[in-house]
């Protein structure tokens, strides 16, 4: 299955992925409208260690702790991709507590959110990958 991978050699720490992600998942057709003056809830985040930066997003584990741990049964795997049913989610954030990658986070209305590979939004394939200026994030089979 194709997943999103980061190559820290090329990550510039520009954080564009976060904004592209938040925009892609906003459901709006204009980034300014989607993000201006609002808190940004992205499903990818940049971490920094010893001057190295890299993007972290859901690994779409084969046997994901979040799916097993969700108290509401709101997280499931569809065609390999781990998805959150935000209608069912009650925002207990157990998934946040168990994800070893720190890739699930509290979203705008309290429900948990995570990378769903932009498969369902208008972007169609991961917006972080499309928008990365340095190919530091790739979407591929490994």
């Amino acid at each position: 299955m194709k997943r999103v991978y980061v190559n820290e050699d090329w990550c510039l720490g520009c954080h564009l992925c976060e904004y592209n992600c938040a925009y892609a998942n906003s459901g709006l057709d204009d980034m300014v409208k989607a993000l201006k003056g609002k808190p940004v809830f992205a499903n990818v985040h940049i971490e920094e260690a010893d001057g190295i930066t890299y993007a972290v997003s859901c690994r779409h584990c084969k046997d994901p702790l979040c799916v097993r741990s969700c108290i509401a049964g709101a997280i499931s795997i569809e065609d390999g991709a781990v998805k959150i049913d935000r209608e069912k989610c009650v925002g207990c954030l157990t998934c946040v507590l168990v994800c070893p990658y720190g890739a699930v986070a509290a979203g705008a209305n309290g429900a948990a959110q995570k990378c769903e590979l932009c498969l369902a939004n208008s972007c169609g394939s991961p917006a972080c990958v499309k928008g990365c200026p340095n190919n530091a994030i790739v979407y591929e089979e490994r």
């Binding site: 299955m1 997943r3 991978y5 980061v6 820290e8 971490e47 920094e48 260690a49 010893d50 190295i52 890299y54 972290v56 690994r59 584990c61 084969k62 702790l65 097993r68 741990s69 108290i71 509401a72 049964g73 209608e87 069912k88 009650v90 925002g91 207990c92 954030l93 157990t94 998934c95 946040v96 507590l97 168990v98 994800c99 070893p100 990658y101 720190g102 890739a103 699930v104 986070a105 509290a106 309290g110 490994r142």
Partner: protein
């Protein structure tokens, strides 16, 4: 592999079904459910009262779950278990045979013998959906509610009804809220937050006697109430297992494949006593994720597959009125503690023997899972890693090689 039988219809049972089906798509599975409900998420009963979910969305698995998994669901209470004949007898005398059995009976509320409890018109426990529905019926806009027990159940209940009643008072013999998961520093932070929301506390004190609408406290105080909720604690449902000759302690004793001391009988979830890797002891780890994982592990082994669990740890993610709390692991008295306060939150890390033994975060819990994994995996932390650990939960705590491995391939 023959006939599978699961007693109980909660999270562990679902885990068990999915575990069996990951290995054996054919054989029959029968589930005996004491509650006459499609499997739902128990922890959601407080969210239900709060209006954050509804009966439809509370379903832990979709409506077609049993059908799709070839599961026969029977409503009824199992009363007898004969390990030799491999039968289970229900309250209605119906008999069910099995080749492999999994006991997922969970736990039930522990209600101490209070003097005068019978004089209280409206008193409830808070464990099942039916408890919640019953409580809901009793609620009025100006009810005064007294909750005995400031643990997870008591406080979640308090949160759930807060907006629907006149006042909520919580008492607990312990000197702090959430004493099972928070140390006193963190409990203070949480208590302050809850008090700001209007919750009243009587800590280090508890009801000893009731009379009508009045509770008499250990301290001598008297508290008037309209509704009483008893959330003192829970007990593992071990009766059937004991009957069958399984070794039982506080919970049913199981090994790391979830097998009890009796052949072909497994147990999983709140009724069992599994291995807590954070303390290295066996104990009841009554939390939902563990129930699922134990159930799944049991299911796989029942179906002839191979699975073992030995990295379970206690952990909790719980929020009250928008303030989240994430905890995991143990808080050894001799650990080095790193504490950081920010805004209305707090972060306390317990480091022992160069490992993160446990942590409590109140406030921004994002990425707490990285800490949880450090606890679960007992990752050794060098000086650099410790610094990164203190800074924030992130993959930067790991060495570059491990980090690249974590991010570099399918997992």
């Amino acid at each position: 592999m023959g006939e599978y039988l699961i007693i109980g219809n909660g999270t562990a049972a679902v885990g068990c079904i999915e575990g069996i089906r990951s290995t054996d798509r054919e054989s029959g599975i029968t589930v005996i459910s004491a509650e006459e409900h499609h499997v739902y998420s128990r922890p959601l009963i407080s969210y239900y009262l709060e209006g954050k979910t509804d009966l439809e969305r509370m379903l832990y698995r979709p409506k077609d779950f049993y059908g799709k998994n070839g599961v026969k669901l029977i409503y009824g209470r199992a009363e007898k278990l004969d390990p030799k004949k491999r039968t289970v007898t229900l309250a209605d005398k119906q008999k069910k045979t099995f080749d492999k059995l999994c006991i997922c009976t969970g736990s039930s509320p522990f209600v101490p013998k209070f003097e005068g409890l019978e004089t209280v018109k409206k008193h409830f426990t808070f464990m099942t959906l039916d408890d919640s529905l019953a409580l809901e019926k009793a609620l009025t806009k100006d009810s005064r509610v007294l909750i005995v027990g400031a643990g997870l159940i008591g406080l979640k209940c308090a949160e759930g009804i807060m907006g629907r009643v006149g006042s909520v008072t919580v008492c607990d013999l312990a000197d702090r809220v959430l004493s099972s998961i928070l140390d006193s520093e963190c409990a203070a932070v949480m208590q302050e937050h809850l008090e700001k929301q209007g919750m009243k506390f009587m800590l280090g004190d508890t009801a000893v006697k009731f009379k009508g609408n009045k509770a008499f406290m250990k301290s001598g105080a008297e508290v008037g109430f309209d509704i009483l909720v008893l959330a003192v604690g829970v007990r593992a449902e071990t009766g059937l297992a004991a009957q069958a000759g399984c070794e039982v302690n506080r919970g049913i004793i199981i090994n790391d494949t979830m097998q009890t001391t009796v052949n072909d009988i497994y147990a999983a979830g709140d009724c069992s006593e599994g291995y807590d890797s954070s303390t290295g002891t066996n104990r009841v780890l009554a939390i939902l994720p563990n129930a699922y994982m134990q159930g799944r592990c049991a299911g796989i082994n029942m179906a002839g597959g191979e699975s073992s669990l030995n990295d379970l740890i206690p952990m909790n993610s719980i929020g009250f009125f928008g303030l989240h709390c994430a905890t995991a692991g143990a808080y050894p008295a001799d650990a080095d503690i790193f504490e950081e306060k920010s805004g209305n939150g707090i972060r306390r890390l317990y480091v022992k023997d160069d490992c993160l033994a446990g942590f409590i975060i109140i406030g921004d819990v994002n990425r707490a899972g990285v800490y949880t994994s450090l606890v679960r995996e007992k990752t050794r932390l060098d000086e650099r890693a410790l610094e990164m650990l203190k800074a924030s939960p992130s993959l930067a705590i790991f060495s570059p090689e491990i980090r690249r491995r974590k991010l570099g391939g399918a997992v």
